[in-house]
């Protein structure tokens, strides 16, 4: 069974450009999460989808970030326009349906975003 897949693995863009990150969760996982790790700091929660609905987006930094989950399957995270402080590694995780807090979250390998 395939794990959580993220694309691209690395993206280098200039300040002001737009970037879209994609996450394909494990098949059948209703819960999908986005996290971000800025250099040397903790991994921080961005948002949580249950199927196609945003359950919690309290970690989204500002309105330059837009997350979608089409049909409850894959998810995209768009940054527009990108700023220098958006650089970091963006992780996606998924878990099975049910009480989200009791299910193991499986992480993708991450997308390393570099904004120059």
């Amino acid at each position: 069974e395939a794990g959580v897949t993220q694309f691209p693995s690395h993206s280098v863009i200039e300040k002001g450009q737009t970037v879209t990150l994609r996450c394909d969760p494990i098949s059948g996982h209703d819960n999908l999460y986005w996290y971000r790790r800025v250099m040397g700091k903790e991994i921080k929660f961005l948002l949580h989808f249950v199927k196609e609905s945003k359950q919690d987006e309290s970690g989204m930094p500002n309105n330059r970030f837009l997350a979608e989950r089409t049909g409850g399957t894959y998810s995209t995270l768009k940054v527009q326009p990108a700023e220098l402080e958006d650089s970091g590694v963006y992780f996606c995780a998924s878990s099975q349906a049910g009480l989200a807090g009791k299910n193991i979250q499986y992480f993708g390998a991450g997308t390393r975003l570099s904004v120059l």
């Binding site: 903790e42 807090g101 979250q105």
Partner: protein
Amino acid sequence: QQQVKQSPQSLIVQKGGISIINCAYENTAFDYFPWYQQFPGKGPALLIAIRPDVSEKKEGRFTISFNKSAKQFSLHIMDSQPGDSATYFCAVYNQGGKLIFGQGTELSVKP
């Protein structure tokens, strides 16, 4: 505000030694305490986890010790091996399902 504080930031241990990583949390509403292991180029993977109704959990060479009154928990790696070299993250979460991570510890086990 930082709800989970992890130490040390980096750790060097000789093969066969014991690696100890500590975490402290602030909010008593957390009810699940996992440790994640991350190898370079990979995402974090669940290593071992504990619930607050027990004080210790052991899986092979990995042990979590949990002190509810002190709001602290730690990971012990016995007989550390070079293959254990990785970044380790403690985390907490509550009913909402969101993981709150510590800053991470880079462990290097020297042969």
